[in-house]
Symmetry: C2
Subunit: 332 residues, 2 copies
């Protein structure tokens, strides 16, 4: 009898190694993005495309592994975003765009749909992984949003890794910034301005909880302590396990004014329409009407995934509730 | 014929000096708040109450005068909030609460419901009127939210008045801060912590446009560059001339997580319920359920005013579309 009990306990506690969780557990799903923008196949080298696909796959699988092992959606989102921040290929963490003054100022936020807890940081220049700082603000402070050097002091006080500002700098981003300051290459600046390679993730765990997170270096040549939508709960990120997990990427000022993440969630909740339909209305109608470019990834409580954008491309990857993985860059 | 035309033009362009605008113009309305919290008659001197009522009346009348003269809701909101910022009686501009480190860090935001334009500043310590900085960010920058010293540099560049940090300091707030650092008076700290004397205004102009704005010194003893809900579009402030103008005051972290201003607006818009009913659901049900204190002032496109709070009191004043003025402090 005791042996039977131990075997039963082992079965209950053993991690699920398949995408299909055991009966009684909620099917899991995850989606990530590496930014939307003027991403056109003609402008992309085969090597860069392969590198981006490989990194998206790595982040996706890291998050999915957390979920199939019974971990929290919040942890899946955190590890997926950390992976993308650590890569110089995306405008978040290492590889962030340069500000007008030639520094890197990063923003990030995370939200737990189970209890509407949230954390965010804005304008940080020394925290290796801004998404971990956002998570620490949520878990270990009474606040939701910390900014600038104060956010860095808090992060240091809870043991997060701080680095020299030079850690974030890459030759690609430095060139982009230098070119943008040459009048003769205004056309290049214009093209790069429309490229928002913010990163983000949404996940649904076996407990049925949703989480969302977003991390970015913001907009090339931003000035005056500009804060975009990524650290704004309701604009760049929102999660509520009853309805939605959303992470956005795009022209942040418009995403704040339209409260994009919360508006998509509200339409699904109050109009009782599918979350993807709500996302399509906001991204393709409202934002296009305002002249704003960008996109969102969305996940509903049943695990339905939305990858919606009004730009030529969006780096995106997902694994649905049946375990089907997709990685895409361009518009279909 | 030419004389008749001139007379007609004079009639059309003459300012309306009554609360009831001429036929064809939209009836105007305005509401302001000076914060919600543990405001109890027994703890208030007759002199302080009279001073607060007089200042609320002054701000209210200044805003209303703009509206009846045919000015924009945005200008009415701006002048009402500027008046309250200039008074040491409220936690905004002069008289802001102290941070943990003994400084004053202010936040403000403003939104134009006619075009969803918005501007905000966070963590500023030298701009005499933070609401004017928020307005300048909206009108004169490509951004929505600027923070810290960058926001101050921008404000200086557009000619706004900067002052020494000492300008904002008052003896009352210094005492409050000092007392909060004495262990023996933890009870006092607890009481003052529940007092959110953020200021805000909502207005409806003769063109039928709505606007909203909010300004604050934030939370006593805030640290690490903490940013509350006041400068967050969708949390502390939202305006959309189709549905709502909202300004909030309360425990900012909860107001961000619940996206209070945008959620109230969304419920009215998508559930097609009165805006005040939406505000009551969010303030009395959702926020109470989260353990959060505070309130909102709301104004709908027809000029219906809501003054909704779950605290013992809220400094509030309004003039409705029929010209009826009210100034109140305690719960009815």
């Amino acid at each position: 009898m005791r042996e039977l009990l131990i075997i039963l306990l082992l079965i209950i506690s053993s991690p699920d190694m398949n995408a299909e969780p055991a009966s009684g557990k909620h099917p899991v799903a995850i989606a990530i993005h590496g930014g939307a923008g003027t991403i056109i196949k003609d402008n992309m080298s085969a090597e860069k495309e392969a590198a981006i696909r490989a990194k998206l796959e790595q982040a996706l699988m890291a998050g999915h592994k957390v979920l199939i092992n019974g971990g929290d959606a919040l942890d899946a989102v955190t590890i997926a975003i950390t992976t993308l921040e650590d890569s110089p290929l995306f405008n978040a963490g290492k590889g962030a765009v340069y500000t007008y003054d030639g520094s890197n100022e990063m923003d990030a936020s995370i939200m737990d749909g189970g209890n509407l807890n949230a954390g965010a940081v804005a304008g940080v220049s020394r925290i290796k992984n801004p998404i971990l700082a956002a998570r620490a603000v949520m878990d270990q402070s009474p606040h939701v949003l910390l900014s600038g050097s104060g956010a860095e002091a808090f992060s240091a006080s809870v043991g997060l890794k701080l680095v020299e500002p030079a850690y974030f700098q890459t030759e690609f981003r430095r060139q982009q910034w230098e070119n943008s300051h040459k009048p003769a290459t205004a056309a290049i600046q214009s093209a790069t301005d429309k490229w928002f390679s913010t990163v983000g993730a949404v996940a649904l765990d076996q407990g049925g909880d949703l989480a969302a997170g977003t991390s970015t270096g913001g907009m090339l040549n931003k000035r005056w302590g500009r804060v975009g939508d990524s650290p704004i709960i309701g604009a760049g990120t929102y999660a509520d396990s009853r309805t939605c997990a959303i992470s956005a990427t795009g022209h942040g000022e418009f995403f704040i004014r339209a409260a994009v993440a919360h508006d998509i969630c509200s339409r699904a909740r109050y109009l009782k329409i599918p979350l993807t339909e709500a996302a399509e209305a906001v991204i393709h109608k409202d934002l296009v009407g305002m002249g704003a470019s960008g996109g969102v990834i969305t996940l509903d409580p049943s695990g339905n995934i939305g990858l919606v954008f009004n730009t030529p491309g969006m780096y995106r990857a997902s694994i649905d509730t049946r375990g089907k993985a997709t990685i895409k860059i361009y518009r279909p």
